[in-house]
Symmetry: C2
Subunit: 235 residues, 2 copies
């Protein structure tokens, strides 16, 4: 397995998956994911069909910013440089965004829902493994399920109006998660400690356990299926 | 003077400058100004030299969104349709943004400072003329002077490092305010009640008082000069 020492500033050499390097990696990943989501949402708002919808998208973006700020402040509290902690994840996340540029308002809603859902899976994982303060922060972020419900309802409504949309949007959602998994695989090889922490299922998990990585991907795919159903999209 | 009746949903016929149509116009104008500023700031962040600066710009944008939300909620409280109230101002504000697209990080900082400054002048005017609840909302917005100070300091710092920048950025600031005034003149002819309220200097002001409009422009220009000095730009 490739060693992560040349790909960024966070330590990535210890075999202990709960080492602070892995927590910093995860906070950095989530922080840049939120900041990147903020900017993409603001870009996508050009697709919004009305001023009211533009306002809604801006509100979603402002929430992503608030999460970014919580994560950045936590990184600073831990004595880390937030910019250095985010840096290794800029390229994979930007690649994901570039490969999944929405072509319509509904595609951008599905992307927010799927992207937030995947982020939520990561937050839950960190909530189980990180220190108490970080756990508190993460549960604050996760408690904002209301807006996810609002998006799922908007998509369900559109699909009820025009059932042909369901298949197309389900394909789009599958592409979103496929591209996310291929970026995640790249990150996992470059940040072995982070990967180990994410796949950790107990004391017996270890760095480079590819079977555990596959099981994590399977868990992500299962949650994705649940989200597809929540949006009323056939699979 | 052109009558505003064909240009939008807000009433624009009474000679009383404090009529509710003018207040709705002003709240709609400010609301769209904030929403537009949110999206432009998010766009401009691509020019930011670092992740930390990108985060700062995202924070400024999130504040614009929070202001938008206050204004939109106030419009709803007043029984108005926020979308209809904003509509007449979308084109002039978008024209301003299109004519003043920043080409650098510093230009975008100067634009935020100048744009927020002009908006502040409008907020102050409405604070004097509108009802108590609206006044309260406006003073909440105006109390956030901290971030404006942060921007002025960033520009001053850059100019101290490279004094050649001062003249160029001062020219840019002059162009920003010039383009704003030409859009404002268009709006003033289309929304006479709004114009009358904005230029109101007491009981003797009336609709279509072009001298009063000129005096308001002169006041705006004076405040602009003060802002140029705060940013350390020669005039």
């Amino acid at each position: 397995m490739i060693n992560g020492s040349e790909s960024g500033p966070a330590p990535a050499s210890s075999g202990n998956p709960s080492a602070s390097g892995a927590v910093l990696d995860l906070l950095g990943l989530l922080a840049y994911a939120e900041l990147g989501a903020f900017f993409r949402l603001a870009d996508d708002a050009e697709l919004a069909p009305s001023l009211a919808d533009k306002g809604e998208l801006a509100g979603l973006a402002a929430t992503e910013y608030a999460h970014y700020k919580l994560l950045r402040d936590r990184l600073e509290e831990l004595g880390a440089d937030p910019q250095a902690a985010m840096e290794p994840f800029v390229e994979p996340l930007e690649s994901w965004h570039t490969r999944t540029t929405p072509q319509s308002w509904l595609e951008s809603l599905v992307k927010v829902y799927v992207g937030d859902g995947i982020a939520g899976d990561f937050y839950r994982q960190v909530a189980e493994l990180a220190d108490a303060r970080t756990r508190e922060l993460v549960s604050g972020v996760l408690s904002e399920t209301e807006r996810a419900e609002f998006i799922a309802a908007k998509v369900r409504e559109a699909v009820a109006d025009d059932p042909k949309l369901a298949g197309r949007l389900a394909l789009w959602a599958r592409r979103l998660v496929g591209e996310a998994l291929s970026q995640a695989q790249l990150v996992a090889t470059q940040r072995p400690d982070l990967a180990a922490m994410l796949v950790s299922e107990g004391a017996d998990s270890e760095v480079g356990d590819l079977a555990a990585v596959s099981r994590m991907f399977a868990r992500l795919t299962d949650s994705h299926t649940a989200r597809i159903q929540a949006m009323g999209l056939t699979t």
